[in-house]
Amino acid sequence: MNGLSVDHLTGIKNVTKEDIELIFKTADSFKEVINRPIKKVPSLRDITIANIFFENSTRTRLSFELAEKRLSADVVNFSASSSSVKKGETLVDTVNNILSMKVDMVVMRHPNPGAAEFLAKRVDAKIVNAGDGTHEHPTQALLDAYSIREQLGTLEGKKVAIVGDILHSRVALSNIYCLQKLGAEVMVCGPTTLIPKFISTLGVKVSHNLREALEWCDVANMLRIQLERQETKYFPSLREYAMQFGLNKEILDSLSKKIIIMHPGPINRGVEITSDVADSEQSIILQQVENGVAVRMAVIYLLAAKINRK
């Protein structure tokens, strides 16, 4: 088998189905590794990776850092709040300065859509997009699809509903690309104001009724309301949103089949999902987090294989 068709992971849109399957197959091996007594392999001991976060993150950053350390890479962390970015340095300058200290790979989160793609074209390092604004969050989509595959065996023909703030969600867009490439059907569900007008051109179903979406799907991915990205009011109040689009135990138990509940985190308990649902047997939220490390290890491992040391 050949390696990945891409040199950087900037989005799911430009990877192939074969790439995704290769990542999953490699992640299977890493999942076994991280459940061993010694959770570490020496594959990347001559690689240095910089985690550059221009936006807040706990889960993604921790997950990437653990993945890198478990591959024995050297890791440097950088967050915008404590950096020269505040002094007016440009993105390319910042990153090139870091690279001149001999860094091989950059994991970046940035508030501007397309920042990862921009960087991939301009600097000499492998770029992994850890979220660029409202555009893509490829590793989250990969770990979501990987978790569904683990539960249901395959994505082919499965129905996945993505519920919530689709407009501001990079997780939604990456998930749509990823799930469709693997043969799943996707429905987005949320208030009219939070669903982009032309989303159906991506080939997804649209619903504004939570019950309808839940009855249709095998898996429901509940997204967080991203208040930090909403400069205007998209719905009257959080309470009203929770009444109409919040998933509670009552609705879940009244469905005709048992569906799988996912959430990319962080959870706003009581808004998009209630505590008893988040902690129920049907929820695989914590498995998603565990798989996140294995999937990110696979992505970094496969991209590192493309670094030429000759």
């Binding site: 390696g3 091996s29 590794v33 007594p37 570490k40 020496p42 594959s43 990347l44 491992y301």
Partner: protein, 179 residues
Amino acid sequence: MEKQVILNKRHFELTLNRLCYQLIESHNDFANTVLIGLQPRGVHLVQRLKSQLEEILNKEIVCGNLDITFYRDDFRRREKPVIPSVTNIDFVIEDKNVVLVDDVLFTGRTIRSGLDALLAFGRPKKVELLTLIDRRFRRDLPIQADYIGLSVDTLSTERVSVEWHDVEGEDKVVLFSPD
């Protein structure tokens, strides 16, 4: 490419038998001994040893498979990435006698990686190495086998291939030499 059978079906059988009795000589009833095959080709040898040993001793022999992909030292020096196989060690190796099993011992680099990979599972009491074919005088590292099926003198440009009844249809070892 010139092809030469260096171990035919009959000698293959005899060699496996001898290896089994040599193992029994040093490990008695395998009370504290496990066999671990290196992926991908060592696992076939482990399966054969296991079934023959079980027949002779009339008890279960504990076996596992070890994948060494992530421990290799030639990562990124190859054209294609190495795709991992399955590691399957569902027992504790702490304080056990471990016999690492591979089909061909050549440069010793695979075994070096295998030792690293093995130690991630704990601290064995003793580690030994069994190989069906030893390509002697071709070592890059100071590694020798404790049990050897057949020693052969080869050129580094030659290739030795162990074929299995279950996989290729016949038990034999073939030496490929360039013309």
